[in-house]
Every structure is written in structure tokens, then in C-alpha cells.
Symmetry: D2
Subunit: 497 residues, 4 copies
């Protein structure tokens, strides 16, 4: 398989490395990447505004937390499709000059998550191609679980691949479909892929928004004057003064063209399985997903945590930013005062060059610093959203201990993360997930905290409003069946079975 130049950042297409800006990102290295789920992707779309690309740019900025690796916008102007995508943050990729060239009244955009290491390198989006019926661009949040077998099948039929981007199988399926219009072809192609997908398509004349039947990833519809807008999360509407209308339903395909907006259901009915981890970590706290406030859900997780894993302590602090709402909930339910005991730096983002003189838990220090005056001699509850490999938690505990904390009680606002995700989150294999192979007591010992407590899966479900969620990462209950030997093998491998 073609590979980009080793260590190179995400290339526009597999097998191709890019220029200066990429070089900078070679060094991108979130210092705590070893121990957190990574962001994933965000999509945004506009139909019917003279400033479509500009609004998409602002919308992507509001979704930047879902992906910092690359950003791209495709736009249609009088039937002609233009695209710009590049490695980097939205604010860096889209200069006034670039934006001015993206004229047109329909637009889709994409931000992509940042990971390090060759095996994680995926590709910038949107992907745009020409095929028999014209041009089509696609922005994808999610993951096709039958990508590999579909790619192999397509290759055996004579298809060429220029990336390892999931979406490339989709455009091949569309190009090979026999339906006579783009909408039907998209529907036909989608019936051949499985897994998690919130997708925006831009053709020469339509904008199509689709959410997979399980509705793993969020996708919302909004209104800005006469234009329709789509976003992974509703706060992206706030930024551009658009109004949230409703969520795209699981299994729904919304098509907008000159004749208006209409909705299809091209999939068999399936139970909703929205990703519960969006509430725990991914989504913005100011988001409302499936009618539930992320902030309030997190506070409820913290409250449940206080009940299920109480601690004798002098104060509650959070690992910022994701742990803050839950820490406030814990404080509220326990009566233990909340304080901002760890200060987060706003200026991290790229690798800092580590000195030769070793500095203890260097990576964490760059991001977080303890407020010694608060912590000295105190018994501390530290609330975090999850533990992946445990290395960052271990560093944080040491840092707090160095700052004078007398006792450290680590509390996690979700259940133990024991299973890898196949639906769009970049998780390590089971063998690397600390909770897969260790008891809570062993974990606490590794992390060197005085106690470790998790919220129960039941309480988590209650916090987010009950049923209809995929919690495979906690429970191992994967909603999408294993469809092929390859797929199955890989799944087992990751799952460590």
C-alpha cells in the first residue's frame, strides 16, 4: 500500500506529502495523547447563502475541538465544484485570500482529528471527485466497519485508490451504482456500507445530509435566514447567529436542491445507538445532543459519581476542561467545595522541545500546573472523564502530590473503558486499555492515587437520559454485527480476543 513519507503529517491524499505547513505539523504532538480519547471529526454545511464558504469556515471553527489536524471546504458555484483543504487549524488554513476564492452558495466543510504516528494517518476531507454524473464532494464523521472488505472488492473490480480515507470507498460505490441520479446513487451506495457515519455530500446541484441508522454520530439541522445549515453540534449554529431546528434523525437522508428540502429513509429501521461518549468527552459542554444538555448530563454524571464513589476530602478539582462540569456535580452532591486546582495552558498545541535535563512528567506540565496554595495539605478529589492507558492520570497524581496534596482520590465520570471503538473514535487496542486488564485496585496502584472510583454504567445511562446509546467502549456490546472474516478478525484482534 502506498504510504506518505514517513513521519509526515497528514497528506491531502495517501502517498503524497505536502509542503511547509505540513512540516510544522510533523511536530504536532498533544502532550497527553497517551491517555485520552482523541477528538474525531466535525462537519458543517450550508445550502443557499451567498457567503456559504465563509459561514462554513466559522462553523468549522466552532467545531475545531472535534479535529485539529486538517480542515477543508468544498463549494458549488453555478454547478461548478471548488475545494480547498489543508493541514492545520481552521484559522490558519482559511485566509481571507483562500476564502475569497471559494465563492458559491452551497458548501460543505470538515475538520479532522489529530493523531501521531504513521498508522493513524488518515486523510484530509472533503474528498471530491468527478464521475459519470458530474462532481461530488463528501465530508464524513464516523467509520465504515466494512471498509477493508469493500476496498478489496472494489480493487478486484478494477478500482484505484489514492488514499486510505474511508470515504473513498463511498465515492467508488456511488460511481459504480447504476441509478441515474446522484441522490439515488448515494442511497444505493450507503446501503453497501456499515458502521458509523454522519455525512454531508455536495453535488453540482444538491446538498445531501445523512446519518447512519444507529445515529452513532450527531448531526443537526439549522436555519440562517433563507439558508439551511448543518453541523455536528448545535453551538456551531450559535457562532453564525443561525437557529437550531432539529437533529437529523438516525437513518434519515435530507436532500436540498432548487426545489426545496425533503427527507428520505433509505435504511431499514434500526434502534438508535448514539455514542454515549459524546456526552462524556467529545461534545462541547454548551451542546444539546438528542435533546439533552451535555453540560447538565456531565453534572449528573458527577453527582452520581459522588453517590457511587464518595470520598472524605477537603476539595474537589477537575482535570480541565472536560472534567469541570462533572466536578461541579460531584461538589454539589457531596458538599465538598469545588476549586480550580489545575490551571490549563492556552498556548499548547504543538510539541514543545524537551530539554535533555529530565523534567518530571514534562508533557503534563506543559498543559497543566497545580495551584499549590490550594492543594497544600489537602485531601483532594480529582474528577476526570476517563482513563485510557493510565499514564497521564499517573502524572497528574504525581504532580498534585508534589504540590502538597495529602490524599488524592481519583474519580472518573464514566465507567471503565474496556473495549475499543469501531465507530469513529481512535482508541488503542484492548491490550493497551488499562481497565481491560486490571482491577480497579490495580489501576489505583498504578496511578498511585489513594482511591479510584468510577461511575456505574447504569448511572451514566441515567445521566444521559436512558436508552438508545452505544456504550460498547464500556460494555463490549457492539451494535453492528461482524460482517466478514476480515472484519471479524481485525475486531477480535483489537478486542484482544
Amino acid at each position: 500500500m502506498i504510504r506518505p513519507t514517513p513521519e509526515a503529517a497528514e497528506p491531502p491524499l495517501v502517498g503524497e506529502s505536502v509542503g511547509d505547513r505540513a512540516g510544522q505539523h510533523d511536530q504536532q504532538d498533544e502532550s497527553d495523547q497517551d491517555d485520552h480519547f482523541h477528538d474525531q471529526c466535525g462537519v458543517f454545511g450550508v445550502y443557499g447563502s451567498a457567503e456559504a464558504a465563509h459561514f462554513t469556515y466559522l462553523g468549522l471553527h466552532a467545531l475545531q475541538h472535534r479535529g485539529q489536524e486538517s480542515a477543508g471546504i468544498a463549494v458549488v458555484d453555478q454547478g461548478r465544484l471548488t475545494m480547498h483543504r489543508e493541514l492545520g487549524l481552521v484559522r490558519d488554513v482559511f485566509t481571507a485570500n483562500v476564502l475569497s476564492r471559494l465563492s458559491g452558495d452551497c458548501s460543505i466543510g470538515h475538520v479532522r482529528y489529530s493523531t501521531a504516528g504513521e498508522t493513524h494517518i488518515k486523510n484530509a476531507q472533503p474528498l471530491a471527485v468527478d464521475y459519470a454524473l458530474g462532481s461530488i464532494a463528501v465530508a464524513h464523521n464516523g467509520n465504515f466497519t466494512n471498509y477493508e472488505e469493500t476496498r478489496e472488492l472494489l480493487e478486484s473490480q478494477g478500482s484505484i485508490f489514492q488514499s486510505t480515507n474511508d470515504s473513498e470507498i463511498l465515492v467508488h460505490l456511488i460511481a459504480r451504482a447504476t441509478e441515474t441520479n446522484a441522490v439515488d446513487r448515494v442511497a444505493a451506495a450507503l446501503q453497501r456500507v456499515q458502521g458509523a457515519f454522519s455525512l454531508l455530500f455536495l453535488t453540482n446541484k444538491e446538498l445531501i445530509a445523512v446519518r447512519d441508522p444507529h445515529g452513532f454520530r450527531p448531526l443537526s439541522l439549522g436555519r440562517f435566514k433563507d439558508a439551511w445549515v448543518f453541523a455536528s453540534e448545535p453551538p456551531a449554529f450559535d457562532l453564525i447567529d443561525a437557529t437550531y431546528v432539529r437533529d437529523i434523525e438516525p437513518g434519515e437522508m435530507v436532500v436540498i436542491d432548487e426545489s426545496g428540502i425533503r427527507s428520505y429513509r433509505p435504511f431499514a429501521p434500526t434502534p438508535r445507538k448514539m455514542c454515549i461518549f459524546e456526552y462524556v468527552y467529545f461534545a462541547r459542554p454548551d451542546s444539546m445532543l438528542a435533546g439533552v444538555s451535555v453540560y447538565e448530563a456531565r453534572k449528573r454524571m458527577g453527582e452520581a459519581l459522588a453517590r457511587e464513589a464518595p470520598a472524605e476530602a477537603d476539595l474537589v478539582i477537575a482535570v480541565p476542561d472536560s472534567g469541570i462540569s462533572a466536578a461541579l456535580g460531584y461538589s454539589r452532591a457531596s458538599g465538598i467545595p469545588f476549586e480550580v486546582g489545575l490551571i490549563r495552558s492556552h498556548y499548547v498545541g504543538r510539541t514543545f522541545i524537551e530539554p535533555q535535563s529530565s523534567i518530571r512528567h514534562f508533557g503534563v506540565r506543559l498543559k497543566l500546573n497545580p495551584v499549590r496554595a490550594l492543594l497544600e495539605g489537602k485531601r483532594i478529589v480529582v474528577v476526570d472523564d476517563s482513563i485510557v492507558r493510565g499514564t497521564t492520570s499517573r502524572k497528574i497524581v504525581k504532580m498534585l502530590r508534589d504540590a502538597g496534596a495529602k490524599e488524592i482520590h481519583m474519580r472518573i465520570s464514566s465507567p471503565p473503558t474496556r473495549w475499543p471503538c469501531f465507530y469513529g473514535i481512535d482508541t488503542p487496542s484492548r491490550s493497551e486499555l488499562l481497565a481491560s486488564n486490571h482491577t480497579i485496585a490495580e489501576m489505583a496502584k498504578y496511578i498511585t492515587c489513594d482511591s479510584l472510583g468510577y461511575v456505574s454504567i447504569e448511572a451514566l445511562r441515567e445521566a444521559v437520559g436512558g436508552n438508545g446509546f452505544c456504550d460498547a467502549c464500556f460494555s463490549g456490546n457492539y451494535p453492528v454485527p461482524f460482517t466478514s472474516p476480515t472484519n471479524h478478525r481485525r475486531q477480535l484482534e483489537l478486542a484482544g480476543l
Copy 2:
């Protein structure tokens, strides 16, 4: 006077604009700059470590909140002085390549605040020159109140100026002094300048740290193994695993060379007048200044605010990040629950390109978004640190109102800002300071909040531990006398008298 190319970012020297990176910064525009005090400067120094420049780079990163416009490091290697400075953030200016060229065991560094508009353009530091006794570099946090008359005097004596950097008068004074060694010349030169200064000097063989007699700006001494380190704020020591030793005293000059460290007092005894606003806004919450925790001081301000300006409300929120500690204090003292009602974006920094379709309070939206689920139908106390022109507060109030807040009670954790600062803070003239010309009621009306309350100067003083502070921005009591007609005139002008 020579000017840099108009609209150009901060040039290395006046009259000179710089390359690509500068171009990017052309667009730098903190979206809420209209209504907050700006950061100022930070300095860091190392004497006696093989990785001096590397530690300075990390120390400057920890001081990045004090200045985002430019960063620079000077280093001495076997008596030879080398320097690198550039516009941009520490992480961008100092690549592995640049750092590798800055070998040497003594180093000083500087970060500078970012402002917009030609009149605010100052110059990158350190400033490094050759003169009769060798080379000298200087990093300066503060402002000389007699800069203009001293420059005029020096020019009349045949001096040339290549910048509008305060520090340039200082090196001229050092070069023109008649003492026979660098330390004595520095002491002599410092007796001819007035105002606020925390200074680090690097000569071919010494590192000199000085704090002005009033001690306006902070400066701390630390220890890293055998090396001595200096930083504007102690958390910069934390990042590199160095230990805080003590503050440099107001009026103290510390000299380190081969023969060791020693302390001088080259100034007449003067009452300490440390900037009280460091506690209110500038300093990191994890800083300890003059023995007082900034975080704790802010919490006390919030508590006093709750007593002095109570409100009937359902929840207390902060304008992040500076208002958070005070909001927690307000919540604690009032019993009204604290919530994170405004989410701050981590990805702002440069100007975002505003669309033509007007978006209400666009600038604030890029940085802050309300958590609607929390605010809807609620009576809100919003805690902020200060009000300058009032425009940002007004936008925040509107944004909260749009998000459903029923009542909005704005509470400020410092007294009304009525007077300009002449000691290193970039404040507007009196006529632009909202509190200079309006009653509290008028201000509340302008800001459109339901009520507006400030903390009293007495309570503020108590929160920071009593006397010994400059609070001229609140009281108009300027500790440094007017020394010349020019100086006086300018001061009156800014003061609107």
C-alpha cells in the same frame, strides 16, 4: 520619527518590518481587545545551566499569558552574546533548529504583549547592543515615565535611535556612563530612569536582575540544580522543575557572575508600590506574588464582592478565565451556585474574517459561547475582573440575554477603573475609560445589565493583604512624581485633566 510600514506587525526595530511571520500577525486582533487591559511583558533568565536557552524557552512559555506578540532569547557562550527574537508565540519562534543555535550557559528572555494599531507598536526584546565595555542585552517589563525627555536629551547629545523601545534609552545611558565596569554603569544608568521596571541584563560575563524601588512589576528568583533562574512569576519555575527561592525585592539589584551571587541596593529607600492589578487580572492564578496566592486573593475579592454587592440570583457565572476564581468566591460567600455559563474557545488568537452578513457581537462570539441549558429563565450573577470601555461587557450581557437569562447582575472584582496606568500597562486615556465619566448607574444602563456592582478599594486592598500597592488605576494616586513639563503634559492629557 521613523515608523514601520503601516499596519505591519511589530518590527524587530522601529522603521523595519519583517517577513512572513509578521504578515500573519498583521491580522492579530484579540477580539475583545476593546474592553480589557492587555497583557504586558514577561521576563525569564538563567545563569549557569548548560541548557540555559532551552530553559528560558520553557520559562517564557509559562509566561506566555503576559505577552503574545513577540518572543526573544539572548544567550552568552564563553563571553559571546547571541540573540534571536521574532514576532509570534514562544512555541512558534523557537524551533529545535533555532534553539540548537543558542548555546551557552547564561540566558535572558522576553515575551511582549500584543496590541493593535500603529501607536501601540513597540518593539521586540531583548535589545542587544555593543558598546565600549562589550555587549549587553536587556529584557524589560515595565515602563519608564521619563522616556520621552530622556530620549530627547540623548538625541540632543548625538544619540541615534533605532526603535521606540523604552530600553533603548537605558542602553544609551549605560554606554554614556563613565563607570569602568558594567555593573556600576547599569546602576548609574538606572538612577536616571523613573517608573516601573523589572529588568534582566546579560553582559559578556554577568547576569543582572533589577526591580525598581517601588517594585511595580514582579520578579522572582529560583534555583534549578546549580543554576539560578529568574522569572516574572513563580509558576514559570514549576514548568522546569526549578524551586522558588524568593522575590527580588523592590529596589534590589542582584548580580551573578563567576564569583557568585550578590545583592545591591542602588536606589534610595522608597515605599513598595506593587501593581495591585497583577492580582486582579495579569498574573496566573497559580502564582504567588509577594507571598500572596493570586487564586486565593481573587477568591477573597469575590467574597468581598458578594458582601458589598449582593444580588438575588439563581447562579453565579464567570467571564472566563480571569473571572473564575472571583466567581467561586462570590458563590461561596453568597451561597448562590457557581456554574460554567460561558464556554471559552481555545482556538482563537488571530483575527477571524468577519462575514459581510452581520453577526451580532461577532468578536465576543468567537471567544465565548453561553450554555443555554443553564441560563434559560435564570437570574445570573456574572463576575468579571474589570470594565475598560464597556463594549465587551455590553456584548456579553446581550449574549446572555439572547441565551435566555432573565436577569443579569454584572459584578466586577475590582473597583471602577478610572485612571490610566503609566507603569507598563497599555490602558486607554481617561476619556475612553467608561468609569471615568459615568456613574455606576449610567454604566449599568450602557452595559444593559440589570445591576452593576464593584468591589470597594478597601476590600480589594484587604484581599491582597493590605498596603504597599499601587492602585493608581482605581485611585489616581500615582506613586511616581511628574518630573518634567513634557511628562506632566502627557500625563495630564492621558488623565484627561
Copy 3:
């Protein structure tokens, strides 16, 4: 069809624009592009050297005159294919850092010509894809005359296109072929394309070099120690100290793999039709093509020109650089002394920003300046290689006249260019070719020279060694038949019939 952002430089793939470096090239504008054939493409390959990419980089540098728009190198290391391509000159695209990542012992590279305007935008090469049998990269010099109908056919069969790059149809044909190994698939695919092609393919284990049956474009084989090298022109071997072995024959396919080098003839026998214009303009003067020295051939053209179009004159000058050898030949045959009457700037390359105050024939002035001391009062023979639209010639004549030349006799070292090229040269349509619609007298009048003379086609043929050349641009005798209505229509259109 998807288009790149308008005015953007050549994107890596159609529909995609690229970063900073591209932005610079937005402005690329050869000042005399209005009146010369443009460079086309150059390819270079290495099989079996530990520094394959490095040698390819140097080889591409020696071929830089054949294309300044983009440069790319693909390399295979233990069966894995890596690629880097970018807009810009070889020296700028391939930094030490980039080269160090291109490890492997087989490599192909490509430089591409620079044109302006959207319709001329083609795509960077090599093109690299994955397909059923593995990875394949291709570097192409030439043009497929049946590109459009083949693309349409492929699209109708479900192929997607990510560029408007000729080579993309080739990789689709390879991917859809049914042969079971790469070499046979390449051969099969090549039987379905028509036109001009000198191609290098790199697979996971083979390097394949092919020249079309007519041999329109040059391609040579060389030896460097144990490695085999390929280059569009032999001087590229000189640079790396390799030895020229022989030309790849028209219709020959050379395959190198672990088992050695072997030659195939996958095409029906066809008369050689090498591009005669390579001798007139494209090739380096130090090249030897088909056994004929380009320098000597040009001198013979100049000698013939002196015989066929003599002039009473005081000196012979050339339009540098391409006209120099012919001008020496003219001087030799006529006895009129040769002088360097026009000085060429070495620093042109990008657009210079034209002042508002109009400067006469600005574009030409940036590149050329007359030596007034030589020209004043003299009768001048000016030798150039060809006239396309006539605008540059007109400017040169005026410039010489301004410099004091008394008479100007323009002499062209090729016959009138009357027909467009379909075999890889970017020529305007017939209606824009000055010689298509005007008599020599009319042309002279337009150009404002005192006389205009061309070399005859017979003399040109003799200068390059006789038969076996495509001279369609002079004669309209196109060696490749019209294969489809589309193709025919387009050809007629360009040909103005």
C-alpha cells in the same frame, strides 16, 4: 467538472488547492509566455541505488528547463511506495528533510511545465495509486490524444477521477486490466492509449520505462555504477556522473526488477516520428538526441538560415538563450560578426509587479536588456527559434529600435509555426498562431522589423539529420490518426478548420 480554486496554482489533484508555496506560484508568470512554446515535462528514474531519490532530485534539476511548475519523486523501499510532489522548482520542493524521508533504492521523478490560466492547469506528477495488484506510480511526458473519450468511457463504467491529469486514465486502465501481473497490465493498458508518451512506472518491485511507438518524446537509458538510470535528456546523466548507454527506442518497453533488465516491444511497428521541435527549442543545447547534437543541429539551422534568408547587416545577435547556437551558425555562414546584443536576466521567474506608470514592453524588459553601445546605428540580424503569437518579437524589435538599431532583420531558425501540437506541447489554437493567418510580409509588418526570414522545412530536416521526425507544427502532417468524433472535433477546432 471539479475545478481547483480559481487563479490557484496547479493543485496536487484537481479540485484541490494547496498551501503557501502554491500561493507564491499564483503569481508565476513567465513574462514572454505570450510568444513562445512552453516547456513541457521531464522524467527521471533510478533502479538500484541506495540514494535513488537523491539522484532523481539531481537529475530533475538538470531537466528543470522542461518544467518549472511542479516537481515530484516516488520511491520504493522494500516494496513500499512513498511519494512527495509539490508546486515549485526542484531546489525548493526537495529540502534535505524531504529527501531524507524518501529512502529506497528505486525512484521515479517528474518536472512539469508552467502555464497560466485555468484551462491550462494540469496536475503534478508522479501520480501514485493503490489497486488490486499493489501500488503503482507513473511519470508521464507527452499527451494522450484519446484522453477525453477514454475518460468518458471509464466514467461510464464507474471510474472516479480526482484530476485532469492524462495519466489518471492510464492507471484506471491498468487497474481494470485482467492480466495477472503489473508488467502485462501496463502493456495492455498502453495498447488502449494513443499519442505521445515517454513514461516511467514504479511498482512495488519493478521500474518500467516506455516510449510510444512514434517516439515523439525523448527518453534515454544510462548507467551509474550498478544502477540503471533513465532521463528525458542525457545531460541529466552528466550531473550525477552517470554514463549515457542508449536511447530507449520508440515502441520499446524496458522492465527492470530483481532478475535484471529486459526489453519488450508491446506495440505494432510504426515509423519513428520524433518531435523536431525538441531540437529547435525544448532540449538543452548540450543534449544529444537520437545521436544528433542539439547544439550542432541548431548551428546548422542558423547556417541554413543565413543561406536561405541572407541579410545585409553589421552584426548578428540572438534572442537568448535558445537562439544563441543558431545565431552563431548564422554568423559563421554569413561572415557577419556575432555579438551578445541582448542581456538576459538570471533573476526572473515570478511575476514582477508592474507599476501603474506604464513602462514600454515591460514584460520583455524584465528578461532582456539591449547593449546600447553595440547596437547604436547598426544593422542587426536577430535570430530567434520561433514566433508564436508575435507579441514578444514585436516588443524585442521595439526595444532594439529604442536602443539605436538602424535596421532589424528578424531571422527564425525554424519554419513558420502554423499548426497546433497534440503531442505534449502546450500551443495555442491555430487562430492565435500568427503564421497561420498571415503572410511573411504581414508578419514582418506586425512585428515592425525591416525583414523577416525563416528556415525552410527541408533545411530544418537536414539540420536534424533527415527523416523520422514529427513536424506537424510546421507541416500539419499529424502522425496519429483521428480516432473518435470527439477527438476529431477538438482537433479540428484547435486547428481552426
Copy 4:
């Protein structure tokens, strides 16, 4: 003394390294720098045109051969001085954006030569400062022979230095002068410096052009509509359609302000000593200096060379570009045909990354390639302008020999270069000058040519029109006396005495 970061390219000021663009130039390395005099500097100025900066930019482009390291332009707009300077070529430094910010109707500009290695690093110009009478910018071509003692004197009087730029002493002298207007101060300051200088000054209201009393470096006056223009060489006028008026005379100071243009003679009368090497190598062949055509002078050198150092040979070739006119002269006088036997690459400029596999005379190969078809079996006369260290000549001879040349007769169009230059040319010390320590026969042996011949000093003088030239590099007759022990010592040192 402060030094810039080691290996860094030329910083704007000593002690300061600059950004990205500089980084690229780190690698700048003219491949044959070991064996040629380097270019030096070029200046250009405009008084009284609305597009002053734009014309200066174009003028500097025409002078680019005199310096490729840095480029800068200062402009005055309604009394305010603005400046932009940067490392790089004129075309790269001055983008449309930068130019648009340099509004004003008076302007001066500068290009600076490129050298490698720390000791050669000088500083970008213009230099611009504020002093008692306002602002002043200066662009300098030449070298002050009393720089070191003047700097020491100024430092002892309390001056600070921010660069090692010659011009910095000049602005100190101006600032310390007691005259009450800028023109008189400039005149006074100039009486205190010695050596070679063609200077342009820009003040808030005047443009001042001065040439040292010996007139070492050229400086011409031209007219463009109502504006006055100045340039190091007249072809810079051609580019902007300006008309050459006359040379600035040695010892003349021309002042232009609102009231018009006037001429002063602030120096004692001195014999003209124009640099003869300008004719041999520096100047453009299309230049007319002191009324003598450089092209014609070079041809006369070549003719003299043919007479004084004849050779039995089949053809005459030049080392391009500087040797071409002389080679034509040699050919004319000897009757041996001239051919272009070495092809020069247009794409060199930065260092090419050398492969590990050694390539014979790699550096020269990048720039030059022999035309084998011409050279094979031939006896060749190779004309070059000078030999410095001899290493490049040696490589060229080997390259020609490899290409089949039977005999190689190296002919140099100037006398042996035996003495270093103190007047603005960057030459090695005597010990490194091959001709200082070797006989012609020894040199020929080192260079491995069959014979070596030089032109005599008498013939050279005749070629350039007789007397009034500084030929110290050939004769050791230095026109400026040794003024101080320091100066003398250094001079002796360089001279190897």
C-alpha cells in the same frame, strides 16, 4: 562583540537572527564561491515620483547581480520615513502587499552581496535611525577603511552599536555632528570616513547622493519624467524607462529637496580611482561606466589577451556569463571560432544537497555542463575573468577534459589577482589568493591546464580607457593611505606582509 546565531543568515541587525526566509538562506551557497570575487552591493533612489518605492523595486531588480543576499527599501511620505528590508532576492522580499505599504514619493533601496560563513556576515540595508534632527536612512555601496578605529572612538564616547554594518558609524557621526541641518551634518560626517562609498541618504525632506572623492564605486543620475533617479549602474534606468543623465562625479554630493537639485563638493580634490574590476567582472555588460561600455571594454580585454597570450586552438569558449564578451574578443582577434562550450544552469541559487556517493566537481557541475559534441578531440581556449583561489578553474578544466577536450588553454581577461581589496569587495587574504604565492607556471600546473595566460595591466588599462582607475588588486597600489595602527595592521595582515 554580539554575534548573530551561528550559521544564521544575515540578520537585520547584528545579534539578531530572523525568521523563515532567513532559514532558507542559511543554505545559500554559490557553488563556485571558492573561486570568484563576489558581487558587492547596489543602490537605487527616486526623488519625486508617486511610485517611488515601486520604481526602486524594479531598479533593484536590475541591480540584483550586485547582491543577492538582502534587499531593502526606505520611503518618505509627507516627511515620515518607512522601511522594509529582508533577506532574499528583490522579487521575493517585495510582494505586492509589502510594496503597497511603502507609499511616498522619495525612496532609496539597496541590494547586498551574498557570502557564506559567519565572518562575512554583514547587515541588510538601508539602515534607518532617528536622531536629533529627525529620521535618516542610508544605503551604502563600498567600505570604510577607517571603520574599526572610528567605531572604537565612538564607543569610547558612549555610542552603542546594533550591527557590524559600516554605515552605522556614519549615522553616529551624523548624529554627533553639530551642524544644524541634515545636509551639513552629512557633509561633516563624510569628512571623517575614508575609503570607498557611493551613498544614498533619505531624510524627512531630502535625498542626498554622494560618491567618495576617488569614485571607487559607480553611481549614476537619471531622469524619469519629473523625477530624479539614481542607480549604481545605468541599465537599472533602462528597466523603468528612465533616461541616463550623467554619472555622479567622484567627490560630488547631490542634494534634492523641494527647492530643486544642487551639487556640492565637500571633499578636497583627489584623483579619480574608479574600480577597474567593475569592468572586468562586477558590472553588467550592458552598462556604460564613466563613458566606457563594459561590453566593449571586455571585448578589448579579450582582444588584448589574444595578442598577449595567443594559443594554437580549434575553438574559444567562455566561462559564462562574465567571460563571454572577452571570449568573443579573443575569437575576433585570433580568428579562432567562438562556441558556447559550457552551458550555464538558470536554476542554481541555493545549495543543492550533495549525495553521499561522491560526484566529481559536484559544485561546478550544478552550474555548468560541457557540450561534449563541440569539445571532443578539440584544442580549447577557455576565457574567464579572474582566478581567485583556483579551485573552480581546476574543476572546470577537469570537466572539459572529461568531455573530451584534447588541450585546454586557460586565458584570463585581467592580470593576476594578487592583492586583497579594501574598498568594498569581499576578497580573501593574500595567502589564499593563488596568484599571490605562485608563478603562472605553478598556477597552470595546479589548475591542470595546458597553458595559462593573463592580460597585462597595461592592456587592461588601455581596454578601459587609460588612467584614473584603482587596480590595487592587481598592482598593490592602494589609493587610500593607512590611517591608523589598527587599520594598518589589518591591512598588512590581509596583505600577508
